[in-house]
Amino acid sequence: KGGDTKSFDYATYHRLDAIYSWMDSMVAGHPNLISKVQIGSSYENRPMYVLKFSTGGNNRPAIWIDAGIHSREWISTASALWMANKMATDFGVDPSVTSLLGQMDVYLMIVTNPDGYAYTHTNDRMWRKTRSVNSGSTCRGVDPNRNWDAGFGGPGASKNPCSESYHGPSAHSAIEVKNIVDLIKNRGNFKAFISIHAYSQLLMYPYGYTCNDIPHQAELDSVGQRAVQALSSLFGTSYRVGSICKIIYQASGGSIDWSYNNGVKYSFAFELRDTGRYGFLLPANQIIPTATETWLGLKHIMEYVRDHPY
């Protein structure tokens, strides 16, 4: 069954059922490294899976990575698929990955918004939010990156259920968000929280809900700059680094603001390719180049986290 992951075409976009089937193949192909953890179900009752990379130990320090919280950002999910396979196949081969997984667990959530992702494949390619029904409105969905308990309901989020950035009725009201919050809190000992988005080519750290600097601004900026150097070394792709508020716009209720405020110092968000030819419709032939360069940036952050325990 493990052979399925070798024949899997990482250079195309896949439907949700194909991705979930691929996860089983990954687990079967790497039984001593990867397990599939169901952290709950989505609003429409789809299972929400995390691939847990672990070489054992008890409650080791861990890194959280999520992709595809905004369902139309297909390159985010596609890149996460490739990177999962890369991490699995490099384990035991690349000393850095081997060392990382010898000391830490990595939780990789490839489809963070499964209802939205399925909906982009069947009904509306441009769908961004969850698919929950909003009481008193004909418009559906909550922006799951405005629903976290971090400046919830503040600037850069909308109270209008028809808006693409609707924050929802209350913090963590989106079951997709609550499932992650529960996992992070119940397990504990997460040292990094990395969220993968598209597009604009940015690497960001908190805050989004305020333009004030975080206490670790200098360190996170330095880590981010070096991660982007690593990323850019492959194809020369240009990235900007900064706080969400300062390099995009003020946005409240975001995931990495929540993780940072809950003690996960190394909280980052990537915005992958491109900078303005295709937007959310990045052609499939860009998946592997995007994933390959992103892996270098991501790996730099993970190595730094491994080497700077706190």
Binding site: T12, Y13, R125, M126, S200, Y249, G276, Y278, G279, P283
Partner: protein
């Protein structure tokens, strides 16, 4: 399946804070049913707006009247989606 025939994505390069404010009013309005792929925040960053076909003329006129520079980033959104769908089906087979 929702179709986007004739819809365009415009890339807007605001030159001043005043233009950013104008774009924010456009974003907050619901008349044109615009989908801001990237948002107006500073003149350093381009703003990408998915404009439904029915609103194209009005939005382009708004930008021209206010001398806000823009160009068409995606000429016909549906054409791109059709190509993506063809690729998906071919790969699935």
């Amino acid at each position: 399946r929702k179709v986007f025939t004739g819809d365009q994505v415009l890339r807007v390069n605001a030159k001043s804070e005043a233009q950013i404010q104008l774009l924010k009013t456009l974003e907050n309005g619901e008349v044109f049913e615009l989908d801001f792929w990237t948002h107006p925040s500073s003149s350093d960053l381009p703003i990408d707006i998915h404009v439904p076909y029915a609103s194209l003329y009005a939005v382009q006129k708004f930008l021209q009247d206010n001398e806000i520079p823009f160009h068409v980033m995606i000429q016909d959104l549906q054409e791109l989606l059709d190509k993506e769908q063809e690729d998906l089906q071919r790969n699935a087979m």
